[in-house]
């Protein structure tokens, strides 16, 4: 059967995880310094700094009235600014940019709820919040995004494991 051996016109299926996913989440300040980074696809440590610098430079160069979604190499970047802090999310092209844009806000609201701030988003001080509580911010993020997918968006459920830990530590 010569002919069938030669025939392969199936479209190679990439894992869905690669097709529609969040590639990374970054928190950076206005000076372009990384305050948090989480990658959902493997990027070598040595390449991360350069990638972050590139992406951040690009986002920082944009004006307020410009689109919050930018293209970077073969992926898209969604960013949102909170005072001095930028939250930058790398996504694949087929992801829904606006839903990610709002996911960022949900994340911020969760952080806000946890750090008991009312209606004030991040300021310079809360950049320090992030820095002093890097582990907790990571734990919160892990409840929301796994393997590049949004796994939980319900605020109280996101915080449940962490508050449980806090309670145990206190007692």
């Amino acid at each position: 059967m010569v002919c069938t051996d030669n025939i392969d016109f199936t479209i190679p299926l990439q894992p869905a995880a690669d097709r529609r996913m969040i590639k990374f989440v970054l928190m950076v300040n206005r000076q372009g310094q990384t305050r948090l980074s989480r990658y959902y696809h493997s990027v070598e440590l040595s390449r991360r700094a350069a990638l972050e610098a590139d992406v951040v430079r690009y986002c920082l160069s944009r004006k307020k009235d410009q689109c919050s979604f930018v293209e970077y190499k073969d992926f898209k970047v969604v960013y949102r600014q909170y005072a001095a802090l930028y939250i930058v999310v790398g996504i694949t092209d087929s992801e829904n940019e606006l839903s990610i844009y709002e996911l960022v806000h949900n994340f911020v609201e969760v952080l806000d709820k946890y750090f008991s701030r009312v209606s004030v988003y991040f300021s310079l001080q809360s950049e320090l919040d992030i820095m002093f509580n890097l582990d907790r911010v990571h734990i919160i993020l892990d409840e929301m995004i796994q393997n590049g997918h949004i796994v939980e968006t319900n605020k109280s459920r996101i915080l449940a494991p962490l508050t449980a830990i806090d309670k145990m530590v206190e007692s």
Binding site: M1, V2, C3, T4, N6, I7, F9, T10, I11, P12, L13, Q14, P15, A16, Q33, T34, S37, S42, L45, A49, Q66, S68, F69, V70, E71, Y72, D93, S94, N96, L98, S99, E102, S116, V118, V120, S123, Q125, M131, F132, N133, L134, D135, R136, H138, I139, D142, Q146, N147, V151, E152, T153, N154, K155, R157, P161, A164, D166, M168, V169, E170
Partner: protein, 1098 residues
Amino acid sequence: MSDVVEKTLTALPSLLSLDSHPGSAKLSSTSKLGNLIRGITELTSKHEEEKLIQHELLAIKEQVSSPNTTMMKELMVRSIYCEMLGYEASFSYIHAIKLAQQGTVLEKRVGYLAVSLFLNESHELLLLLVNTVLKDLQSTNLIEVCMALTVVSQMFPKDMIPAILPLVEEKLNHPKEIIRRKAVLALYKFYLIAPNQVQHIHNKFRKALCDKDPGVMTASLHIYLQMIQENPDAYKDLTPSFVTILKQVVGGKLPMDFNYHTVPAPWLQIQLLRILALLGKNDQSTSEVMYEVLDESLRRAEMNHNITYAILYECVKCIYTIHPKSDLLEKAAKCIGNFVLSPKINLKYLGLKALTYVVQQDPKLALQHQMTIIECLDHPDLIIKRETLELLFRITNAQNVTVIVEKMLEFLCISEDDHTTIDLVGKVAELAEKYPLKYNEWFIETMNTVFSLGGDMMQPDIPNSFLKLLSEGFDSVEEDRKLKLFAVNSYVPLLRGEPGKLPQRFLQVISWVLGEYSHLREDLEPAEVLSLLAKLLDMKNSSSETKSWVLMAMTKLCKGGTDASVTQEVSETYSSSLDTVLRQRAHELQYLSQDPELRARVLPRGSCGNFAFVSEALAAGAAPYKPPHQRQEELDQSKALSLEPYGLSLPISMSSCSITDRQSPTLLSMSSGLSGDTLKLDGVKRVWGREGYLAQREPVEEAAQVEVPSPIQSPGRQGEGDSLHSQTPTQTPTPEPEQEKQQLASSLFVGLASQSSVSLMGKSEPTPQRFRRKAKGQGPGSSFNASEQISSSLISPPSAVDNLLCNNLLDSNNASELAEQTSQLSQRLTTANGTCHTEAELTEPDTKGCNPALRRDNCVVAADPGPHDDPGRLTEVCLDSYLPAELSGLSHSEIAPLCANQSLNLSACHVQKEDSLILVVFIINSSESAIQQMLPAGEMTSHSVAVGQYSLTVKRPAVHVEVVGTVSYQLPAGTSQSLQFSYKVPLTSFIRPFVVSTEEYGTMWLSFSHDTKQNLTLINDNQEPLTATLNALKKKLQLHVVEVIGMEGIVACRLLQDLPCLMHCRVNAGWLAVWLRSPVPDLPDCLIYHCQRALQSL
């Protein structure tokens, strides 16, 4: 702002107390971590950072080995900092694992966190985590179980899954929702990394989907989205469940805490919409289940908030992916309108993205928003501009290609991003090559810009396919020569200028073209070309690859004699080169330049040996070439749309109804009506469109005309003679820039409009133009002459009457003679497309000069059988009895009236014989008098019937084959008359089974050059789908099923007499992927059309 600061400051103490050392606010800022953080915030240079972190790493390393675990958590966070800044802290990895193993609750969590941050999924240290996970999964402390499940769903060694799988499965029944939810997510991870390991628990996924807790259900959707993506057919039965879930979510049935800004679980809605889109794609009955909920989603999401727009976007995509429903499409289109018109830039972007997605289905939508699109094209934000170009790329046709390419090139000049450049250059090249009528200066100039801008970054296939295109040439020798001459003419000045600035790839292209074709320019001395080429060799930045191209070109050019000195010098220089390839080339140059006879044999002029290997490889069974950017598009499946025509309402409007692979981004090319003329570039040709949307028009001939369009003379209308009514009478004087935009719009959106569509520009009615120019870019192998499309030969005249009729009445020679008068006419012999014959075609200017008889002939096609109401009708009924005896046993088509005048009635039918198709024409003399001199001699008495039969063969396939003939006769009064008729036969009547063995099939398959691929619907009745579908095709189309092996089947048929077409079928993801190959151009395309119809009509 002061308010903010105040609040922040008052909150500060509480913040600091959150640190793991309760009440140690002060300590925190003076601790090691506090020092590090302060150090980091005060950094001013990369150098300082390095110093700080290296120092920190040393300190951590020292402390980490001391057994003081109370410090361990802090040490881990410090290590995380170092890694975050890009400094490896690999010594701490093992300690992270230890911390996860031994620490108290928070320490354990940080240990797990550090592990997930530090290690990648294949890291060997991960194995050391397995025991800890195992222990924690069995812990009585729910928090520990939770942590273990979290880390498992982030990363776990594939091989160790069996060790913990039973424990994780057990957790699916846990009373706590959070445990069940995390267990489902862990199983999702297992499914991602090792799908086989969790095959047996699919029913448990179903249980999770039906879990009473919405969180657990949501988690299970990840698994379902993934599985449905891989095999939508297996989960169709779940559609009602997903619909019900979405209905409940949209209806606000979830607890309040799932809301985000009063919108119920928006991300869950989005996830469900994605699942529904996958399930409803190409499946009418499944789609019908979801129409209601989609309508409701659209309605509910009217709140003005970003998140509702995000849902709407997903909803619109879903509506345009599933089987269409007109009122939903309308609402979705309106929705997109709101997006693109929004002043919010993020919404505008999303609107453009949605539009890019849907124009592939409905180009009319682009037309509705044309002015917005024009504005976006000039938008100051490059991202918007870029997205607009993406949209334009998808609506490109032969009429707007020049403008769109121009816009793309403009963007290329300002873009600094390499990735964008590579991508856009690829797209420009693709567009430039797709429209053969543009193969003129425009093409060469565009490609020159592509080569200059794309530089050495672009995909290597671009120069390759450009050279291939040039070398293969066209049918028309003159065109061929002209194009090559354009190329030569444009390159010579480039080389005379500053060739040092040109990219290497471009120089290679130039060298090759000059080597092959510079002889076409008579005023150019080979010696000059040689010296220009030699100059390239001396340039410092020429790569050795380029040099080798140059040397090859010189080898082709040198003739000895006067050029000898240059070549001699060059070959001497390089024959001692360190580069072996160059040395080889130099030697070749030296020998061949000295031996003209040998040179003529080795390098005969005009032979493009470089490409011979391609055809050899193809013959040897290699897969046809696809450019990488095209392959990439195919990978990007989620962007691909269903391109199958929906239902049967779409008339196939061209003879070459090619339906190529569905992933091509360029499907809109067919709107030009020119696609049939393109070169056989794999995957770019596509023909389908709703009648009217993709009106076909005479292509624009001159690029210049497109570039200076005016509202009155837009390229699409040029030469149409209808410019009178194309002018919008209501047009008020518009301000200059506005007018400019309108002009741009008219040149960009030309070819998308139909008279029914809403057009902002008051576009003229497109005159349907069914005729195409002679195929220019046909492969050199094609032996078919356009003017001899149909031959009708006489078979055994059975009676004297027949004998008389054969040569005279049904004068097919006459028909082909007429056909030769204009190429269009010859085309129409085959381009008969039953569904769209209208009077309008006749008014098309090119036919003006033709024999008026032809017009009459056309009328006849469109005419209703009115003339047959009277006596003719009666005769018709009993015409059966006149069928020649040897045909009467065979099944024949219905005897259909053809045409009539006062004296003659013509009817015809066709009879399928095993090896031929017989056209039987019945001529009824309906007059009261005898008819004489039915050429060359003969007569028919009053009310008699004469029968002629003709065997038909197809030389060039079309979906429907049309036979045109003339009956000439003389009335007793002595006046000569003639009656024209035409008769249409579907191609299927010419198809016969082709009995071959599998081996023969294999050999033939490789030797056939024309192919097409398409996914067909599978028949899902009780039988095995492949067999059922093949049997249906066999029955309907008379195909021969050669062999069925597993999920694949091979089928063969022939077009009378013996033009084979082979079909390879394979079941793939619920579709029948069909690949047709034939030595005859267009045959695969026509056949696939009939296959599609055959399956749809079941």
